[in-house]
């Protein structure tokens, strides 16, 4: 198996991960409507962008390769920031999320004007930083609110941990993506495969989070509320 085969395998697996998010969101959304609709939307957008990348790769669609990825960065950041905005109920912290979103948008627009058709490390690193910060804000919010139930059973804890885990692990890669692409061309596939496998793990963690609500749905059924 060469590096390109490895990249393709990892790419299909992380595509499967996006599909799993959609399936779990549909199955469990009655328990947590707002959060899981947003997560399901994230899964769907990821799935469609991956499809677009594949079609672009096979020349069914002719788009500059970097543009699809750059656009995906904006959508991904936007949806996840919206998820944080919806799940944090403290108004001050909500304002911080909004400010971070606006700052990221300005940063994105300022960079993308010149680099839309090329892969951009800067906007990827920026996205990673903003999402890591929002994840930390959410943990701070959790410690302040201190829910009485076990955190391990809370879906948002898993989703938030997945965000922190994935974007912190891929932060260095995002920062050095352009360097790897230009200076270490032959190794780029391996680095990107590593990123794809981490993304698959990210999707699995999100699905585990949504799966935690199965106990809630069982309790609702036994109490006759469903």
């Amino acid at each position: 198996m060469n590096a390109l085969d490895f990249l393709n395998l990892s790419s299909y697996l992380q595509w499967l991960g996006s599909f799993l998010i959609i399936v779990f969101a549909i199955k469990y959304y009655p328990n947590r409507q707002t959060e899981f609709i947003v997560v399901g939307l994230y899964g769907l957008v990821s799935f469609l962008f991956q499809l677009l990348q594949e079609l672009n790769g096979y020349k069914y669609v002719r788009l500059p390769h970097g543009s699809v990825g750059n656009l995906y960065v904006l959508f991904e950041a936007g949806i996840l920031l919206f998820l944080f905005y919806k799940t944090i109920s403290a108004s001050r912290l909500k304002q911080v999320v909004v400010i971070l979103s606006l700052l990221f948008l300005l940063y994105y627009l300022s960079i993308i004007i010149d680099q839309f058709n090329e892969m951009s490390s800067s906007i990827r690193a920026g996205r990673d930083v903003v999402l890591m910060l929002c994840s930390l804000i959410y943990f701070f919010y959790l410690l302040r609110e201190l829910p009485s139930k076990n955190l391990i059973n809370d879906p948002m804890f898993w989703i938030n941990s997945a965000v922190l885990f994935f974007f912190s692990c891929t932060f260095i890669l995002s920062l050095t993506a352009n360097y790897i692409l230009e200076a270490l061309k032959e190794d780029f596939y391996l680095y990107w495969s590593f990123r794809n496998f981490l993304r698959l793990l990210f999707c699995i963690l999100i699905c585990i989070g949504m799966w935690q609500t199965r106990k809630e749905s069982r309790n609702l059924e036994t109490s006759g509320q469903v």
Binding site: P147, L151, S161, L164, F165, C169, L173
Partner: protein
């Protein structure tokens, strides 16, 4: 691989590992911090509950001591004086034939009886000497004699000797429930059952108007029976017992108290 590439791979690996370690540290910190805070909150709640329990116990003990003092004073001082007055009056009544004196003697007799009854209600002297069952039986007999309500008492199982303080609490619960029934329920009949087994089960049933127990629990019912039931619930919690309520067909109510016989 070129040396520059190797250096980059090493730096990339170390930096990614550090970021991963930071992420896991934060996640574990959040989980363990929450668990620690929750266990501290639980400890604090248990301490507060224990403190409240002790305060309640102290308040009730103080109440019992005061009742005991009042009962002694009533019986020994007031009761004795009234008896002396009666004795002094007796020859005068016997010698004369005036109705006012007869009436006075009658009033005095009633007063002496009332003082004795109040003294007995304040401190059931039989409780310490003869135990809980005897005191409850004696209370039932007194009420039957008064004709206010018919009381049936039954006991099954082998009585277990309890700590005197617990017996006083149980007696007060029965006394309070009987008083509530007489005052509020308009019942003509009251059944008191004591079932001795692993626990002491008290069943107090009447054929009165019934009672909005859930309303009392949710503070929506009227407060007429409120204070009495509150003191019952307080004593039940001090005993570590449970209190249940059922309505009885065709009409009436039934209270069931399950009391651990050990402290």
């Amino acid at each position: 691989m070129e040396p520059a590439n190797v250096d980059f791979v090493i730096m990339f690996s170390i930096a990614t590992a550090v970021m991963l370690l930071l992420a896991f540290s934060i996640i574990f910190f959040v989980v363990f911090y929450q668990k620690r805070i929750l266990s501290e909150q639980l400890k604090r709640k248990l301490l507060e509950a224990e403190y409240q329990q002790k305060m309640l116990q102290a308040a009730l003990e103080s109440q019992e001591k005061e009742r005991s003092r009042l009962a002694s004073d009533l019986h020994d001082s007031v009761g004795a004086m009234l008896s002396t007055i009666r004795l002094t009056l007796h020859p005068v009544v016997k010698a004369g034939n005036g109705q006012p004196l007869d009436h006075t003697k009658q009033l005095l007799d009633e007063t002496i009886e009332t003082v004795r009854r109040i003294s007995r209600d304040l401190l059931p002297s039989g409780l310490e000497k003869f135990g809980l069952t005897y005191s409850v039986q004696e209370m039932c007999e007194r009420i039957n004699l008064s004709g206010i309500i018919e009381v049936n008492f039954s006991e099954t199982g082998t009585p277990v000797a309890m700590d005197k303080k617990r017996e006083v609490l149980v007696y007060r619960i029965i006394q309070e429930m009987v008083n509530n029934t007489i005052r509020h329920s308009k019942a003509s009949m009251l059944k008191i059952q004591m079932v001795w087994a692993d626990t002491l089960q008290l069943v107090i049933q009447d054929n009165g108007e019934g009672f909005n127990f859930e309303g009392f629990r949710n503070n929506t019912a009227s407060s007429k029976a409120g204070l009495g039931l509150y003191s019952i619930e307080t004593r039940v919690s001090l005993l570590g017992a449970s209190l249940g309520y059922d309505s009885v067909f065709p009409k009436g109510s039934q209270f069931t108290v399950k009391i651990p016989t050990a402290a």
